[in-house]
Amino acid sequence: MASESISVTTSDDQTIQLSRKHAQMSQTINSMLEDSVGADQEAIPLPNVSSEVLKKVIDWCTHHENDPAPVEKVKKLNKKREYKAKNSTISDEWDKNFVNAELRVIVDILLAANYLDVKGLFELMCKHIANELKGKTPDQIRERFGIQDDLTEEDKAAMRKAWGATKNDS
């Protein structure tokens, strides 16, 4: 019978126990578990995730452990062919508090969610970053995300022109 808890080793050499249920919310760990069926139970190495971040991920998994499994949506034809962005509203109060963190933490969780392939968490982080981007000017975006302005004046003029065409087109 499979053990009810899984050991993982984080990038800072911490061994952390997490429940099988939480572990299986990560497609990455789940795949490793499936690959190691019958093998000696060793701690699963997670070299890209620190213990601090993993605990955050576990927190999120704990809160969402009873959520229905994400269903791979079959994309329907966008018959109207209009611009259709995904809804970035974060409705869960707990999630709102969860993402109310420094950008450093958000980045780490995003990277961890991406690496561990925890879909719900990954989407939450993406939503949050998208909300961070929304309503900001290019200057504000660069400042917020520490990005260099490497566009030439010609680039910017072309983009303004393109944007004008887009607006006229819509």
């Binding site: 079959v74 209009e82 962005a85 809804n87 420094e102 995003l110 939503k127 975006i141 990005i147 072309a158």
Partner: protein
């Protein structure tokens, strides 16, 4: 706290995988996306990528599909049902390549009807339309329309600049409510030209051949076009135009039309052909083309087909002075190929033949077919032999 701030300063957001940014950008409204793409080059690239726009909006593609008559428009088009063989000169009615050659970048851009902010504009505006570049092709797909931007042969030595390998990718096809994967199979070709095959579970295989001319600079080259018969009975027409100065680029699109409207297209574009069933063949063909223009010419072409395809590539020899490589496609009753004839100033740099086989004779050791060809404003006949498989 100091340590944390240092960490975030050290983190380069642009190192996030593009797929992550695509996912983030999918949550943005158009204005926010525009603001993002105006922040830096990387954001611009990602925010205008087809991967993202395929998910966000298809309006632009709709515009493009209106560019040519679509299948639903065929009733409104006066379709010339004259048999292909009775339409001499039809192929020169629209000089597509001249359009490309004579147009400014802005006109080309408008002509191509590319979405604002697309990569093509990027290249056009920022680096110069015909400047050397080496990038993956862009592929746009909408319903039964496929568009792709081919960025081809590289400058310094076209002979050593393979097109093969740069056309590679996967894209999604939406048709009705189903999704299918369309795979652009690896391109085959040389610096002389390229051939790539696309596999789509819905539409089947189709193939495209490009033939950027190798010398004779600044002459836009013409390409052969490929067709397919979809399961719905529509022939999907691929046309491609490619030209080369010191480098090359091209625009290729695919769309569905009814059989009737193909003739219309043939008359319009000069570079299209039709096929019924893609004919796979092996072995070598000897193709002799005799034209009936002002300067009757015979061509002898020894062609080597690509395995598992209906394309070929070979040496085209005209007398002792003209030795040129050609690429083309043969179907069971159609043939199309492109090559250049340096001896004809007005055709210099490009030449194409599109023919229809109207007779096939069986012999003990070979098959011979003959038919009609048109080259620019001239027309003629050809025959070809294929060795029978032993």
């Amino acid at each position: 706290m100091m340590q944390q701030e240092q960490h975030i300063e050290e983190f380069n957001w642009l190192e996030l995988a593009p797929e992550v940014w695509f996912n983030i950008f999918e949550y943005l409204d158009p204005l926010s996306l525009h603001q993002c793409q105006s922040s830096c080059q990387a954001f611009h690239e990602w925010a205008t990528s087809e991967t993202l726009w395929e998910k966000l909006c298809r309006k632009y593609y709709t515009r493009r599909s209106n560019w040519y008559p679509s299948a639903k428009d065929t009733d409104e088009i006066k379709v010339d049902k004259t048999p292909v063989n009775d339409l001499p000169g039809r192929l020169s009615q629209v000089r597509l390549t001249n359009l490309l050659e004579d147009s400014s970048d802005d006109e080309l851009y408008e002509w191509a009807e590319l979405p604002p902010g697309s990569q093509m504009e990027d290249v056009s505006v920022q680096k110069g339309w015909r400047e050397t570049f080496r990038q993956l092709s862009e592929i746009k797909l909408d319903g039964d329309c496929v568009y792709w931007l081919m960025r081809g042969a590289v400058a310094e030595d076209p002979l050593s600049a393979p097109i093969g390998g740069i056309l590679n990718g996967t894209l999604s096809l939406e048709e009705e409510d189903s999704y299918s994967q369309v795979k652009v199979m690896k391109c085959r070709g040389t610096g002389l030209g390229g051939m790539f095959q696309v596999h789509c579970p819905v539409m089947g295989n189709f193939m495209c051949i490009s033939y950027p001319q190798i010398s004779y600079t600044a002459i836009p080259t013409r390409t052969v076009s490929i067709y397919n018969q979809t399961r719905h009975g529509y022939a999907s027409v691929v046309w491609m135009s490619e030209w080369q100065t010191s480098s090359g680029t091209g625009v290729c699109s695919k769309y569905s039309m009814s059989d009737e409207s193909i003739l219309q297209v043939i008359r319009q574009t000069n570079i299209v052909d039709t096929m019924r069933d893609m004919h796979r063949f092996a072995g070598q063909w000897i193709l002799n083309v005799h034209t009936l223009g002002d300067e009757p010419t015979s061509y002898r072409l020894k062609i080597t087909p690509y395995p598992n395809s209906s394309g070929f590539m070979g040496r085209l020899v005209v007398g002792s002075s003209f030795d040129q490589t050609a690429v083309g496609v043969i179907w069971d009753d159609m043939i199309a190929m492109a090559f250049s004839d340096p001896n004809r100033e007005e055709e210099r740099g490009q030449y194409s033949i599109i023919g229809q086989v109207d007779e096939v004779e069986g012999h003990e050791l070979y098959q011979r077919f003959s038919g009609y060809v048109s080259q620019g404003s001239t027309a003629g006949t050809f025959w070809a032999e294929r060795e029978k498989q032993m």
